[in-house]
Symmetry: C2
Subunit: 205 residues, 2 copies
């Protein structure tokens, strides 16, 4: 489809621009309320001495996520997509124009909460992460193979509730590795910070 | 956009067809893993003496949801959408052709797990329900106004975990009513069946 081809071209332009400025870039995809912003907040806490960090947040509406992260002294841009259920490379290109790229070493991009469309629309980041929460039940991985194929790292979050939910975390991990043997799977509790150093390591940050 | 106009036309055809056969119909939308299938299973348990029930399940892939419901002696059709993040009236029209409409009084349609696109693509059902889980955090309602505008009933599920999550359920209820003053909000625990009679009442079943 033409739309995807155009998106790929813009994504590689974004990629070039980030590379030119020597900026590492990580896209965070995942289900609604899975813990994407909490994960980013935890990583920002631990990395802000090492990197000058920027953040692009995508949501239908509100500035809730960018407000949360800007409290950490990070440059933020909020993209409100209206009715669109995913970010695309064009929206990210416009957001990049609003950041001072000379002043950044690391960029996080949080996509709209959705385990489907974001898989197909690359944004130009170096790495892609998918976050799911064990509170979604045992089938969210097998039901959404495409996004796990596209991701470098899979974060299985809210493991503090695994017992209450009766969820076998190791089975979710197996499901992800069956779909994509190259993916790195990390279990986290983004409220306490459990597992975050492993995510940082898996991303090479 | 043409796509939405065509969808509306097909949705009203589905509506006419269901009306002609005197079949009550309810669409269940909601986030990934929020409890849509569990809600339907609980309603089927309590209504199968009163109605002959059919079920259309939508997912990218797998027959996990239709298998779960078919165990209750319900006629099921599984729609696998591939990469499409929402059902549309055309897919539902084809699924209706695979059901014996003479033998049905009530039809449940479970949409793909997604709080965004399903809002715009009506399927032709009489009633629309949106299910969210308190485990998604405090903002999933305010961030997704369109789907709450479209729904007749909002189900706030997994209230057994409200304390562990530190979520104020009454605030989520207020958020939904602010977006859509006509919506009926019901709190449930679809594992134990808590609140299900209220959902059945709100749907007039
Ligand atoms: N119990 C528990 N709650 C968590 C964890 N991580 C995040 N949360 C909570 O989950 C809710 C949603 O977290 P967010 O970080 O906003 O999730 P998100 O994926 O960014 O959400 P959206 O951007 O709205 O899709 C909040 O109430 C968080 O406090 C965790 O590991 N355990
Ligand atoms: N604690 C708790 N778990 C629940 C509740 N309702 C459903 N669950 C669990 O949540 C998980 C997902 O439930 P499903 O009914 O499959 O959710 P769904 O919305 O149909 O999921 P998808 O179709 O995959 O998007 C399962 O592990 C259920 O057992 C509830 O009220 N409380
Ligand atoms: Mg967020
Ligand atoms: Mg389901
Ligand atoms: Zn989309
Ligand atoms: Zn869609």
């Amino acid at each position: 489809e033409n739309l995807l081809k155009m998106n790929e071209e813009l994504a590689s332009k974004n990629r070039e621009l980030l590379k030119k400025h020597g900026i590492k870039s990580v896209e965070i995809m995942g289900s609604i309320g899975s813990g994407k912003t909490s994960l980013i907040a935890e990583m920002v806490k631990r990395l802000k001495e090492k990197y000058r960090i920027g953040f692009i947040a995508g949501d239908l509406t509100t500035t809730i996520d960018s407000d949360r992260i800007s409290k950490n002294g990070v440059d933020v841009v909020q993209i409100n997509t209206g009715k669109e259920c995913h970010l695309d490379a064009n929206l990210v290109m416009k957001a990049l124009e609003r950041l001072d790229l000379e002043a950044l070493d690391l960029l996080f991009i949080e996509n709209v909460g959705n385990l489907i469309c974001p898989a197909e629309f690359r944004l130009g980041s170096e790495k892609r992460v998918v976050v799911v929460s064990i509170t979604e039940g045992p089938f969210m991985v097998v039901k959404h193979p495409f996004i796990f194929m596209e991701a470098d790292v899979a974060v299985i979050n809210k493991i503090d509730l695994a017992e209450a939910m009766g969820i076998e975390v190791s089975k979710l991990e197996k499901d992800a590795l069956t779909i994509n043997p190259r993916i790195k799977v990390v279990k986290t509790n983004c409220r306490t910070g459990g597992g975050i150093p492993k995510v940082i390591e898996a991303l090479g940050l």
